[in-house]
Subunit: 135 residues, 6 copies
Amino acid sequence: MKVKVNRKAHFNAAHRLHNPIWDEAKNLEVFGKCSNPHFHGHNYEIIVSVLGEVDPVTGYVLDMKWLKDIIAEKVEERYDHKNLNLEVEEFKNKNPTAENIVIEIWKILRKEIPLQMDLTITLYETPRNFVEFSG
Amino acid sequence: MKVKVNRKAHFNAAHRLHNPIWDEAKNLEVFGKCSNPHFHGHNYEIIVSVLGEVDPVTGYVLDMKWLKDIIAEKVEERYDHKNLNLEVEEFKNKNPTAENIVIEIWKILRKEIPLQMDLTITLYETPRNFVEFSG
Amino acid sequence: MKVKVNRKAHFNAAHRLHNPIWDEAKNLEVFGKCSNPHFHGHNYEIIVSVLGEVDPVTGYVLDMKWLKDIIAEKVEERYDHKNLNLEVEEFKNKNPTAENIVIEIWKILRKEIPLQMDLTITLYETPRNFVEFSG
Amino acid sequence: MKVKVNRKAHFNAAHRLHNPIWDEAKNLEVFGKCSNPHFHGHNYEIIVSVLGEVDPVTGYVLDMKWLKDIIAEKVEERYDHKNLNLEVEEFKNKNPTAENIVIEIWKILRKEIPLQMDLTITLYETPRNFVEFSG
Amino acid sequence: MKVKVNRKAHFNAAHRLHNPIWDEAKNLEVFGKCSNPHFHGHNYEIIVSVLGEVDPVTGYVLDMKWLKDIIAEKVEERYDHKNLNLEVEEFKNKNPTAENIVIEIWKILRKEIPLQMDLTITLYETPRNFVEFSG
Amino acid sequence: MKVKVNRKAHFNAAHRLHNPIWDEAKNLEVFGKCSNPHFHGHNYEIIVSVLGEVDPVTGYVLDMKWLKDIIAEKVEERYDHKNLNLEVEEFKNKNPTAENIVIEIWKILRKEIPLQMDLTITLYETPRNFVEFSG
């Protein structure tokens, strides 16, 4: 009896898209206004999805209060109200595209979620653009 | 040509999380304020998803009006404006967690949906917590 | 330069609609399935709206972090995961309709918001039914 | 490192459900008020989902600006503010049910998306009825 | 103690924007693709808002079940799955812009709502375009 | 016959809250993590609301296509993918709180909207925090 449980969370951050091997003209050509050197930002919304067996004693796959707290501690504290390029270790040498951010969040939470459960992260960069990663 | 068709519905209900093998102190420890013996409640939203072949004569996987009516008759009539713990047979001896509710709704609708079609139920307990079950 | 600032919050609660001067048959006639003596429940969403002058030093009407904390302390702590009829003082002798709940929340928050500012509360009982009160 | 990227778009169109092998009475029996010969209409919302490898140079699966423009050029230009039955080639002899529309949009975009990537289209006919097709 | 109560409803319809005093070229110039003679359509969402005194016996401004039924009977039955230009009396000689539709819905419901209560209608033509009328 | 017409738009920007008369410690005390000198950001959503007479010839208060284009030209071009503090003239010496941003957008659009019409701007900084200004 495997059920997928999902929890929404959010953080607000600044970023720019930029590859340091290219000059500004090439970055502008590839990333358009997202390459603005002065940064822009987003209200990122995330959905953390965990697929696992329902525990017959609690009726839970896992305690959603625990999941909420883990997301707050490991993801929100790290990314909320931050400049992803300047202040978040994993993006100092990696372009903070939605694709790369969702992979990093997955790596962070994969260490916290019991190994026998499957993990998917969905990241909304805007209400119209979103990405999903399942490992 | 398999298409997944989806229909949203909703019901409002009271419940509490509670395992009768434990005393109130242990229930409070495990389920927190969700174990309040006086109950709390939710606007549950459900999405019924059916994957099947498109009928070349109608262009339908199935008639969504029929699906809407089946959900109303089998799920909404049973759960809407009810106390799940006290009034719904399947939760008299089963903890009405979102996980257990989504499994019960799946069992109810699985009997109604043609067998060659796949069925997934998604249940939103709140806009921030939701669960999915596919059998 | 008056700006209206708005903050969303939410709580989950059980209730029933019931007037003790009437017998159950009359309550059922007037309130329908909302009068179920075993209760049902909702995810209530609230919007707290405050109209006031923008402080030229901060650029704030008021600190939204403070407003968020006041709503949590005075409204969410009082109503969240509660049975409104049985556990909330103001509804022991008052029918917890959306209209009466929004008036009570307004009275609670009116004491907290600076007097020169106008206060409106919007309460969503469901995504399809909501009420507003401005004093 | 496969990530699924998703882009939302929308178009407004008129249609009716109708099978020309049947007379109006039979069409009314099968399709109800959706068979109204004078047409009705919808705000269709679509989600285009592409699963592919993240390019290590750009950090993109594909350029979402390019995806947005392709959807506008190939789908919105073709369907927006149109009568699907009368003005869109593929529905002159095919019933424009949500199922058939989502398959046609998938066929149109499948030609544009790199072959090594998987494509899923989700089409909302209303906020309560939606369909998905993955080929 | 005046509270505003609000109820959401919806209907799906086809229409075109068109003034018969102008030729097609002028209609195209003024109304753009909305003047398509073959029609297009929308999922219209409406919010009916009624401001009135709370009845101390029921705790209601008015019975929302009654309001829901009146909207269904007077508005949804009349407009849902219709071609507004061809099938709805009031638009046979009036352009069915969002502005004109919201005024007509207001006129229809004004006759039903008790006179001492204020009525506002909000009409969403799309999630991005909406109009309000209060008489 | 005055109708209020509303149009939604959006822009993504970086900002920080900061008063230069204070040192960083005082800014941190007042603005919390919103004062981060490296900036953070938001998906701002705006609603432009115009109250005016319905033109009996067009059935419009004003042409929503024109309103959409004016918002794009005057607001989105100016604010989208920008650092509000560093790149937008009006915030070089003014703290870009939601309150101050909504006032500036109102001032920009007030010059464009016919004088006999009333203008209100609503600005969502996040889905949970929003502000309104009517002049």
